[in-house]
């Protein structure tokens, strides 16, 4: 059942990305281009998602078990460290270069868009580099 709801969530998430316009890299870049002609659409994507998210996470926070009886695994880290800040800035540079973030990348791959496949391959390589550096440090 865990996997069934994961699949359902992934499907709804992907359809939401397509409906919202987030799977069009040109539209994402139109949102990030404050100095040009700015397309504010993506602010509404975030607003709509957070409006529902606020309700869901308020309920989730009060529970120790999910509706399937699984432990509620919400993040517990609190520190605002260099990894968080430098990592997010690095991600933002990549996002601004292509207009693609991980979710839309997977949807583009699903649509059979070759640029999506190339982006995913590079993203997986980047994640692999992270894993390699982490394991070498350990």
């Amino acid at each position: 059942m865990t996997s069934f709801f994961a699949l359902l969530s992934g499907l709804i998430f992907g359809i939401g990305l397509i409906v919202s316009g987030m799977t069009d890299p040109a539209k994402v870049l139109g949102f990030l281009d404050l100095a040009g002609t700015w397309d504010p659409s993506l602010a509404l994507v975030m607003g709509g998602a957070i409006a529902i998210g606020l309700i869901a996470f308020t309920i989730a926070r009060k529970r120790s078990l999910s509706l399937l009886g699984l432990p509620m695994q919400l993040p517990t880290a609190r520190q605002l460290d260099r990894r968080l800040i430098l990592g997010s800035l690095t991600f933002g540079i990549g996002w601004g270069l292509a207009g693609i973030c991980p979710g839309p990348a997977l949807v583009l791959l699903g649509e059979g868009v070759t640029q999506g496949a190339l982006f995913i391959a590079a993203m997986l390589a980047g994640m692999g580099i992270f894993e390699w550096l982490e394991r070498r440090k350990a």
């Binding site: 499907l11 359809i15 990305l17 799977t23 040009g36 968080l84 894993e131």
Partner: protein, 143 residues
């Protein structure tokens, strides 16, 4: 700043956002987990027992979404302006950055802000700022 009214899609963007919020709600309420896509992919690099199935199922859902969508309506037009070199560099930066920063637009931007997490607020401010500055440099300073 001038608003791009011709490309502004308030209704579909808000509707899509609500669907994304619903997806995150289903995932946390039933499975007790955060719908953070970079984290779901990243976890597959260190597979744990009982972990691979739900991660794969979620990602398969994202991949299959366009197929389901086009049974109802034609897929919207997309445009990728970035060339291959830019896509590779961007992909590498997104892969490394989201793992160091413990999340992306979904995990920090949607779920984290919904949880009012200070870490996610800082992360979201960080990647948005970097995105704005990157586009400013690429489109306006180097163009």
């Amino acid at each position: 700043m001038t608003i791009d009214w011709t490309h502004f899609t308030p209704f579909s963007s808000l509707s899509g956002g609500i669907l994304i919020g619903l997806a995150a709600a289903v995932f946390v309420l039933f499975d007790g987990r955060i719908a953070g896509i970079s984290g779901i992919i990243g976890g597959l690099f260190r597979p744990k027992r009982g972990d691979v199935a739900w991660r794969s199922a979620f990602l398969f859902g994202l991949l299959a979404a366009p197929w389901l969508y086009q049974t109802v309506a034609p897929l919207p037009e997309i445009r990728v302006d970035a060339g291959s070199g830019t896509l590779v560099i961007a992909g590498l930066l997104v892969g490394i950055g989201t793992r160091y920063g413990s999340g992306c637009t979904s995990g920090h931007g949607v779920c984290g802000i919904s949880r009012l997490s200070p870490r996610s607020l800082v992360a979201t401010a960080g990647f948005m700022l970097a995105g704005f500055v990157t586009v400013l440099i690429v489109r306006h300073l180097f163009a």
